[in-house]
């Protein structure tokens, strides 16, 4: 049995829920199905506003689904279940807490903020290169550093699943590349499964074992690409023919490049 399984998941926003004078129901996500294994890295790639985030929030149990089934770790998802870390687009740190206290926030909620938790928090901060910033305030850090703190916060309670909603979308290109390598390293260290929403084709390919390509609204999964590149990956991988091919296949699935013979060869 796979670690996670999404079967025929649908999300329809009814006109009456949408408000603002909307008269039609909005199909945000139509019949999404995919599995993921323990430790697998899955990218959710698609145009903006195509329902990827909706799917991610349904997997988190933060949003009820309109149909289909979602199972994680053998349990049906029918509400938040805590055993995952969520990373938002913005770092969303608490300005009144220090970096260390921000990382420990989940442990405060779970009433497990003990010496072991603090040790783990320091280890995680060291892992993302912020060992010296434990007692800093969030506003003293750059955007990329803040997002690293958010990553530590998502991992502090040792979840088996990491849900990430375009976490590096607001960062500059160089910081983003750095964060990608950092994330792969963290995945290796923790063995967590990752669902990673992005609209960057190269980011999706660089990170993932598997790329789910979404269409425009009503969103459907139009392609599931397996990325045949061995880990550990380094930035040099971006210049290999395999990487280019994977990007080409994803672009074809997105409909931004016309299909070719090479595209049909996978």
């Amino acid at each position: 049995m796979p670690f996670g399984s999404v079967q025929g998941a649908r999300k329809i926003f009814l006109a009456k829920e949408r408000g603002g004078g909307a008269h039609e129901d909005l199909v945000a996500l139509d019949d999404a199905s995919f599995d993921f294994e323990a430790g697998e890295f899955v990218s959710l790639l698609g145009p903006s506003g195509c329902g990827k985030t909706t799917l991610l929030r349904m997997v988190a149990g933060l949003m009820p689904r309109s149909g289909g089934s979602i199972m994680v770790n053998g349990k049906d998802v029918d509400g938040p279940y805590g055993d995952y870390g969520f990373v938002f687009q913005a770092p969303s740190l608490m300005p009144w807490r220090t970096v260390l206290q921000n990382v420990l926030f989940p442990m405060d909620v779970l009433k497990r903020n003990d010496a072991a938790a603090r040790n783990r928090a320091h280890e995680l901060l060291a892992l993302v290169g912020l060992a010296d910033f434990a007692s800093s305030r969030p506003h003293q850090l750059s955007g990329g550093m803040q997002q690293r703190v958010a990553l530590c916060r998502a991992l502090i309670h040792a979840p088996k699943l990491l849900l990430m909603d375009e976490p590096f979308g607001a960062l500059d290109e160089l910081t983003r590349l750095e964060m990608n390598d950092l994330l792969l390293n963290i995945r290796k260290e923790t063995g967590a499964s990752v669902l990673f929403v992005t609209h960057s084709i190269s980011e999706a390919v660089y990170l993932a074992d598997k790329v789910l390509v979404f269409s425009r609204r009503p969103a459907r999964i139009v392609e599931q690409l397996t990325v045949n590149l061995a880990y550990p990956r380094s930035q040099a991988v971006r210049f290999t023919p395999e990487f280019t091919l994977a990007k080409r296949l994803a672009s074809e699935a997105l409909g931004i490049v016309a299909p070719t013979a090479a595209g049909g060869a996978h």
Partner: protein, 257 residues
């Protein structure tokens, strides 16, 4: 540390004040204003010196009414704001009447409060409380309702209880708003206390001001005005000091959306 910036920040306001005083003096001399209509800055300074003990005594009376009223507004305003933001029912039942009540000119209530509470400190305190109360409720409620969505979702994802979400996320996130309200409230509280003294009192700076004008001692009236503005500034600074003291814990000003 004395830097060029510090010197500028002290020197320029001082020059401004001196210019305004000079202009004032000039107007009095040029138009030969009688002291009973517009005293010169020098007359006012002399009055301040002459009536110094009275200004301090009466100022202290007004200050007490202001601060007690303000403290009471905080003590009652914050819990009411919490109730209004946390419970839909309380919100629906009490928020509209509360807002409607806010549009009542509080000055108009002063004579009624005087009838109820007498001419002692109670009626001043009540009026100061009444004017200070609304900004605290409104701003605190606004703060509690504008918690960043991500943080609420984060709490929800961890199955945080309502109390945990409130105490660890919503209330700390609302504190800058509470202070915004408090700063408005404390200046209003001074006005409330003075109105109370105008309507019926035998002490306080408001009373001193009234009796000075009735005796056509305009210099003393101006001295009382000066004392009032000093008092208002001190009250405001007290709130700012409290805000600074908490600033290690408070967020820095949020980025404008």
């Amino acid at each position: 540390m004395i830097t060029r910036n510090n010197i500028e920040r002290i020197a320029y306001p001082l020059i401004g004040v001196v210019l305004v005083l000079a202009l004032w003096q000039l107007v009095c001399v040029a138009w030969k204003m009688p002291e009973s209509v517009l005293p010169t800055p020098m007359n006012v300074a002399l009055a301040i010196g002459k009536y110094w003990p009275a200004l301090v005594t009466e100022g202290w009376v007004t200050m007490k009414a202001t601060l007690y009223g303000f403290a009471l507004a905080l003590l009652l305003g914050i819990p009411i704001a919490v109730a209004v933001s946390m419970s839909r029912w309380v919100n629906l039942m009490f928020y509209p009447p509360l807002v409607a009540l806010q549009s009542v000119p509080k000055v108009a209530l002063a004579p009624i409060l005087l009838v109820w509470l007498g001419t002692g400190i109670e009626s001043k305190l009540a009026i100061a409380w009444l004017v200070a109360f609304f900004p605290i409720v409104v701003d605190t409620a606004a703060g509690l309702q504008s918690t960043p969505r991500d943080l609420l979702e984060l709490g929800r994802s961890l199955k945080a209880t309502r109390w945990q979400v409130f105490s660890m996320v919503q209330f700390p996130a609302a504190l800058p708003y509470v202070f915004t309200g408090a700063k408005v409230a404390v200046t209003l509280a001074v006005i409330g206390a003075v109105i109370g003294e105008f309507v019926g009192s035998s002490d306080g700076l408001g009373f001193l001001l009234l009796s000075a004008t009735s005796q056509i001692n305009t210099s003393l009236a101006f001295a009382a005005l000066f004392a009032l503005s000093v008092l208002g500034t001190i009250a405001y600074l007290l709130v700012v000091v409290a805000e600074r003291a908490l600033s290690g814990w408070l967020p820095p000003p949020l980025p404008k959306h």
